[in-house]
Each structure stands twice: as structure tokens, then as C-alpha cells.
Amino acid sequence: MHDEQHLAKTDNRVDAKNEPDKITLELCFISVISLIVAVAFISALGYEIVSARTPIVIMVPLIILIGAQFVRAIKASRIVDVSSVLSTVAKGNSKTFNRAAGLIGWMAFLLALIIVAGHYVGIAIVMFILLRLISKEELLFSLVLTTGVTIVIFVLFELGFDIELHRGAIFRIWAGDAGL
């Protein structure tokens, strides 16, 4: 079984060599993680010794491993490929990146809508947009599914589990409660 695992690991590396997109993504990922860990490490140096002890004990090997992985990713990459992938993304020509970023953008929009307009309004609007405008589902189907899911969530959370979902900043300000 170990041999199989190591074979799979070796295969992964071979595959990775053929995928400039993934290598570039990993380089970016590792860079962001190392930046966060570096900031965390510097912050931890300012804490009281008892509070800093465990995070530092964790971060020392973590930094070494991140460094090792960064070197591996660099070795597996070619600068030409990486810069080509990055420029494709920057120009907005990467379909994969655009699709993922689009969904994450809709998620952020949903969060903003929930805070401002309330939970039910937020999920209903974003669901309808994703179903009808993005995925081009039929109008009636999109309306029925959106309404159905919103009602089910209301019944399940508010009536079933007695959890009051957020009514939205507009409603709360209107009702005299300035809190979000």
C-alpha cells in the first residue's frame, strides 16, 4: 500500500509538471500563506511568553515546510509558463479563474445583501440571479425553486428550530434598532 501511495505521489508531481496553471496557483497560494505566517510569527514575538510558546512551536516547522514546498514548486515551474498564466488571468482571459471568481463574487454579494436587506431577501435574489440569469434556467422553474427553497428555510429554521434569521439593516433601522 505504501508503494502505491508513493507511486501516486510521484505521479502527482509528474502531472503537476504538465500543468502550468496549477503550479502558478500553488506558487501564489504558498506566497500568500507564507506572508500570513510571517506576519503571525512577528506578531507572536510580541506576546507574553506563555501565550507565544505554542504558536511559535507550531510556526517554526511550518515555516520550514512552507519554504521547502515553495522551492519544490519553483523547481517544477518554468518562469515563462508562470508569467504567461498570470498575464492571462490579469487580462481576464482565464475562463477557469473567471468562473471561480464570479461565484466567489456572488457569494460576497449574497453576504452584503443578507446584512443590508435580510436573509430571506438575500437568498431569494441571489438564487434567482444564479438560476435564471447565470444558468439560464426557465423563468417559472427559477421562480418556483427560489420561492420553495426560501419557504423551506423559513419553516426549517424559524418554525422548526426557533432560530430567527437576520431581518436586515434596513428593517432593523426602520424598526428603531440601529444594530446590524
Binding site: 502527482n12 510556526m59 511550518l62 515546510l65 453576504l111 425553486l145
Partner: protein
């Protein structure tokens, strides 16, 4: 112990608990048949509801959902050549060839029954382990638990399917994430960025929902089109049902194979990090090796389906043992389960296994009954359930997004938690794409506070030389030898590849 067993049984069948078990089991089965949505997704979705529940119904709900996911995944592996969950991958070897021979019902019946029998075996194994564990846990104080947690995390990182360095990075990052918030000993704020919402640390639910639900949603969205395969069952519902009953009969006729493969599963479940998928493959290998008709394996041999499905459910009994006895989860699903216990106010370790043994038995009965429910539903609903795989990602994603965001918000009524779920969703998706172990990160995150607390107590009780006590020393040596051996084998394999090149 008998008293605990009886109490656990009556709790499981009581009107307060059983409906939650039923709902959880149906939900798990439904999630299981949708390829791309793992068992972790089902468990993550259940977690937000636990805040409003008593321990009994909460355990039943959580374990009900967990126990039937593999059954649902087995159905899709056979019917659509697409395993609903990773643990059903071994079923792909003989399930689809049986379907192609017109024996889809026979294979699904055998798979459903084997799952149930495997779970039953795992539960019995856990019952037998309880008296032993009750004695063993008494030797485990803070120094031992601290080193054991490190050992478990190392096992998860090394034995997982992902690359060792990436898994170690994920595990250590999980531990670090658990340090966010106010330190209970010194009242020092750590890594909070001055945000009030982070003073209590990162909440478990949005982190779990992000890593395992939002990440899967993004993955589903990126994959697009249908969630599952496009194959259809050629038989009528009546004919399929008839075959299913024959399949169940076949599983019982192969009871000795079920027993052996379940034993493999339960034993491998005890080892942190191995999980169900390797157990299913080892059991499949054993079934093939011990079969009189080895040549037909891979071409539609029912023994292949029975062996792998029995093992992947028997794993749970073993995995549950280390989780409840030491509070050390060995897999991501056990990590989510442990998080669920925290939310329900249950303390794992000596207290649970000694004084709350009825809760342990409730868990066992929840797993057994959950599997039984899954089998019964599967008996009659294979055809309609299989249609769930035809759901398009474009329909599933908006619905799941609405439900997941509601779950993330509901726990603390906080929009901040939705933001955390989104952030961890992106992180989880990237980790999935790049081969970083999400299981290691979750286990690191769940264990983080226990690791720090036990390290602090160990240093207070025994000083810096606590590592030289017999049990911590033995565990530390095992960790180092295990890690060293694996690093050595990787270097050796690299050299071999170089030499061949």
C-alpha cells in the same frame, strides 16, 4: 455497562430521538447519492442545527446522516460508475461490471446489506473495546494526550492520500488557526487583527462549513453540467427490487467474507488517518485473494462489492473508539463529529467512556439503526434515488449556497461567520485543487486548543522533561520513527525514479 447498553438502546428508539435519526439518515442517503457532495458535506450541514438540540437527538441526527452517506455513495458507484464518496471507490471495481451484466439490483442489494452488516460488526467491536479502553484511558494524562495528538496528526498527514509536505503544512496551519483568539491563561489577544468577532477564536461551524461545504459547492460549480453520471437503470422498479432482495440474501450467504472484511475495516479504523477508502481496498484485495473465482474479480464478482462495502462501514466503529476515548479524531468525519460533541456539550475521554457510557451506546445504536434505515429506504427507492444524480450543478449550487449560508449565520446570528465560511470555502477549494489535506487542517484546528491546554498542563505538572515519561516517550519515538521511515521511503522512491530515468 449493561445498564448503559439498555439505556442507549431505549434512548435511540425513543420518540425524542428516533425522528432525528430518521431525518438524518434520509438526508445522508440523499447527499451520498449526489457525486461531488461528500459525507463531510452531510455532516457539516447538520452541525449548525446542533446548537438548538439536546445531546441525544443531536447525536442521532449527526450520526444518522454520517452512517448512510456510504450507502448512498455505494448506489451511485454501482449505478453510475461515479462513487458518491471516496470510500466507495473500491466498489467501482466490480459494481459497474455487474450493472453492465444487468445485475444492478443484485449489486446494490449486496452493497446495502454489506454496509449494514459492516456497521453492525464495527459497533460490536467498539462494545468489546469499551472495557479495554476504560482501563487504557486512565494512563493518559495531559503529557500523554499532548503527544498522542501530535502522533494522530502525523498519522493523518502521512497516511492521507495527499503529498506529505502539503499535508504537514495543512495540519500545522490548522493548529495555528486554533490559536486565534484570547489566550485563556494570560488573557492575551492572539492574531485577532483587533476584531471583536475573533476574540473567541474562529467559530467551528463556519470553518467546517467553509472547508467542506462551500469548497464542494465551488468545485461543483467549476465542474458544471450534471452532478453525476448519465447512465440509466434498464430494469423496471419491480425487477430491480427483486434483484435487491437477492443481493441482500447473497450478502448473508457470504457471512464469513463479511465478517473478515468487517474485521479488516474495524481494525484499520482504529489507526488515525487511514480512513474508509484504504480499508475498502485492502478488504477488496483480501476478498479477491481468498476467493475461489479470482479471475472474475473486476468483471462483476459480487464478492468484490460485499468485501469493500462491509469494510468501509465497519471502519466507523474503530474510528469512533479513538475519538471518544482520547478525544483524538482520526479522520475529517471524526473531526466534524468531535466538533459536534463540543457543540452538544459532551466531553470525550475518560469521563465519557466511564460515566457516560450510555451516550457511547446511543452512538452505536445510531450508527446501526441509521444503516438499517438506509438499507430499508434503499430497498424501495433505488430507482427514484438514482435520479438525484441527474441534478445539474447549476440547480444544486444556488440551493446549497442558500442553505449553507443560512447554517453559517444561524449559529451565532453573525454575518461575520458567513464571511468566515466564504474565506474557508475559498481556502478549502484551493486546498482540494492543489492536494493539501483538508482533513489534516480540520483535525489540527479541532485539536489545537486541546494540544495547547495539555502542553501547558504537562509543563506545569512534570516540567520540560515530561517527554521522558514512559508513555509520552514511547509515543514520541513512534511518531519520529514513523515520520522518518516515510520520509526515507519518499527519498528512496525519488532515487529509484531518477535511476530509471
Amino acid at each position: 455497562m449493561i445498564e448503559g447498553l439498555v439505556s442507549g438502546f431505549f434512548q435511540a428508539v425513543s420518540p425524542d430521538v428516533f425522528p432525528f435519526l430518521l431525518v438524518g439518515a434520509v438526508f445522508g442517503l440523499l447527499i451520498g447519492v449526489i457525486p461531488g457532495l461528500s459525507g463531510h458535506f452531510a455532516m457539516a450541514m447538520v452541525i449548525p442545527f446542533l446548537y438548538t438540540m439536546e445531546p441525544g437527538p443531536g447525536i442521532a441526527f449527526l450520526l444518522g446522516a454520517h452512517s448512510t452517506v456510504a450507502q448512498g455513495g455505494g448506489l451511485t458507484a454501482i449505478l453510475f460508475s461515479t462513487p458518491g464518496t471516496g470510500q466507495n471507490a473500491a466498489t467501482l471495481l466490480d459494481g459497474p461490471p455487474m450493472r453492465d451484466k444487468g445485475l444492478a439490483g443484485l449489486a446494490t442489494g449486496a452493497a446495502l446489506a454489506s454496509c449494514f452488516l459492516g456497521a453492525l460488526f464495527g459497533a460490536i467491536a467498539l462494545v468489546l473495546l469499551i472495557p479495554v479502553l476504560q482501563q487504557v484511558v486512565l494512563f493518559f494524562g495531559p503529557p500523554e494526550i499532548f503527544v498522542l495528538a501530535i502522533l494522530a496528526l502525523t498519522f493523518v498527514a502521512v497516511l492521507g492520500r495527499q503529498d506529505l509536505t502539503r499535508s504537514m503544512i495543512a495540519g500545522l496551519s490548522g493548529l495555528l488557526l486554533a490559536m486565534v483568539g484570547v489566550d485563556n491563561v494570560t488573557n492575551q489577544e492572539r492574531f485577532t487583527l483587533g476584531l471583536l468577532d475573533l476574540r473567541d477564536g474562529l467559530a467551528l461551524v463556519p470553518v467546517i462549513l467553509g472547508l467542506f461545504a462551500v469548497a464542494e459547492i465551488i468545485h461543483l460549480w467549476m465542474r458544471g453540467s450534471f452532478a453525476g453520471g448519465t447512465a440509466t437503470i434498464t430494469h423496471s422498479a419491480k425487477e430491480t427490487q427483486k434483484q435487491i432482495f437477492q443481493g441482500i440474501g447473497a450478502a448473508f450467504r457470504h457471512w464469513w467474507l463479511v465478517l473478515r472484511c468487517s474485521a479488516i475495516g474495524a481494525t484499520m479504523g482504529l489507526i488515525p488517518g487511514l480512513g474508509s477508502a484504504p480499508a475498502a481496498f485492502v478488504a477488496y484485495g483480501h476478498a479477491k485473494q481468498s476467493s475461489k473465482s479470482k479471475d472474475t474479480f473486476g468483471k462483476g464478482n459480487i464478492e468484490g462489492v460485499i468485501g469493500s462495502e462491509a469494510a468501509n462501514d465497519a471502519v466507523e466503529g474503530g474510528a469512533l473508539a479513538s475519538t471518544i476515548a482520547f478525544g483524538i479524531p482520526g479522520s475529517s468525519s471524526m473531526g466534524i463529529l468531535l466538533a459536534g460533541f463540543f457543540i452538544l456539550g459532551l466531553e470525550t475521554g475518560p469521563n465519557m467512556i466511564t460515566y457516560n457510557v450510555d451516550i457511547v451506546f446511543l452512538m452505536l445504536f445510531a450508527i446501526v439503526f441509521g444503516n438499517l434505515i438506509g438499507t430499508v429506504i434503499g430497498l424501495f427507492l433505488v430507482n427514484p434515488l438514482s435520479r438525484a444524480t441527474g441534478l445539474r450543478a447549476s440547480i444544486l449550487v444556488p440551493v446549497l449556497l442558500a442553505v449553507v449560508f443560512t447554517g453559517a449565520f444561524a449559529v451565532h446570528r453573525s454575518g461575520f461567520d458567513i464571511g468566515v465560511a466564504i474565506a474557508f470555502g475559498v481556502l478549502g477549494y484551493l486546498m482540494k485543487e492543489l492536494g493539501y489535506s483538508r482533513a489534516a487542517m480540520l483535525i489540527g484546528f479541532v485539536l489545537g486548543s486541546a494540544v495547547e491546554k495539555n502542553l501547558y498542563l504537562a509543563l506545569q505538572l512534570s516540567g520540560p522533561y515530561f517527554l521522558l515519561d514512559p508513555i509520552p516517550l514511547a509515543l514520541a519515538i513512534i511518531t519520529l520513527v514513523f515520520l522518518g521511515y516515510n520520509v526515507w521511503t519518499i527519498i528512496r522512491d525519488k532515487r529509484r525514479v531518477k535511476d530509471h530515468a
